[in-house]
Symmetry: D2
């Protein structure tokens, strides 16, 4: 059975909440999903999943260093994530505050792992973005993103 | 006297409105400003100004091709914009819809011209963003951006 | 049968040469491939293919405006490319000259179309890059990229 | 007197070597320069300099997490770097391997701090890039970058 791992870093709880919303979308597609705080995650755990979705607050237009640390450590098995599905999301204080570049930074790292990523032609194109606390728009976007990634994981598995 | 050129492409009028708001901020700093539609602009006109600010709707996460056409044509005097001040802004249909990457795309082109660009530690960090029609937040951000760029132009001239 | 379209813009012939090398890799995978100059391409033709690979010279860190024009025109059928496979490549005068940002710009536009893109864990991670005339390294990277995209198209079709 | 801080992270010594080359260019302009390993740098030290140049190996298309950690910690005095000059450089294993996106990631963080950044119309446009061990091309680019940033620091101070 297909399995997706959602990794997040969260200080205020906003990014964690987005992780939970994305997980709901994934479950609607009958795909297994595990949510983990990045600080409790070993890089080698990435190997066990068909899809990996990473979320971070927007810190200086990039993911939190804790996320980057995990990505740096994942070099130990560089090449082994080739072909897995990736996704990214971010919570941010402001519109135009770096949320898109944070998501793109995570997706770039995934591309360098040889992973497969997918945008969304509707709404938050690169991945879900929350400005402040997740509202109903973010809820809708996040669940739809979870469903979309889950569908792609099932298709490629 | 310092002079700034604002170039925009606009279909709905939202990007044009942002250009006008930025111009107001520039005027508050007693710096000359000219606003031009990109379709009425010759690349060589860029040479006459100390600062160049370019605005575009967000089309597929990048500036409209009319903006890119002007940038491509500016290669005719590559090197001559070295040290001028640059800035960028974008209007967009959606949050997370590509507005930041549109602004960064314009700023990247300016860096390749050897231009000087500046972010804003408050609000729209890379440059002003409007989600839909410019509202009071966008008005505030755009005027502040105009003042900031005008101050930098005066300082560097 | 799976079909891939390679669209390029080329002034010196370097980008065109890369298109041909990528096509060789695609053919090795027994996938149909058509190469078209962007100036002879209608946006609606994108609809007919399972995979779309776009190549451009690096002009100010972004694709040539002719490529962006096609992308802008593709808004007429926004949503219809959802789930297709995308890829990008670029030729450039210099190392560090904007080739990666050119490729990422094309991939971002593809993500906004809801397309699926894939990086490469070996070599040119975001897509093939040629510094000047394609050499044996570029030949190897381009053919491998063609094979990789073709395999993904077959898998997802 | 104007002062510039160069911060680097280096495992193989390539990024450190680039830091030293950039420092040579800065000294040619009679500007004070201090080179520090990021692991020996406190975020508050950034406040003492007119210019800050940050270099990192290319790890998954982004700066090493140690660099990001420093940037994250700099939020403690967010706003206080407004108007300072910034620059970035990267060493990388491969052409097209993420070196440009690493530099742009650092520059984005600097823009969010309200810093002033400048590209180079010749050569490595966003900032110096070394593919592998710094060679004579990298030496030339790095020294020229040091001179350029030093000149801008003197002009803006």
């Amino acid at each position: 059975m297909a399995k997706i791992l959602i990794i997040y870093y969260s200080e205020t709880g906003n990014t964690k909440k987005m992780a939970e919303l994305i997980a709901e979308g994934i479950k609607e597609e009958k795909v297994d999903v595990v949510i983990k705080n990045v600080e409790d995650t070993q890089a080698k755990e990435l190997l066990e999943y068909d899809g990996i979705i990473i979320g971070s607050p927007t810190y200086y237009g990039l993911p939190a260093y804790q996320i980057k640390k995990l990505l740096d450590e994942s070099v130990a098995f560089h090449g082994s994530l080739e072909g897995k599905i990736g996704g990214a999301f971010s919570s941010s204080a402001n519109i135009g505050g770096g949320n898109e570049t944070t998501i793109m930074a995570i997706l770039q790292a995934m591309l360098i792992h040889g992973m497969v990523v997918k945008g969304n032609s509707k709404g938050d194109h690169y991945g879900p973005v929350s400005i402040g606390k997740p509202d109903s728009r973010v809820e809708r976007q996040s669940k739809a993103y979870g469903r979309m990634i889950a569908q792609l994981v099932k298709k490629l598995k």
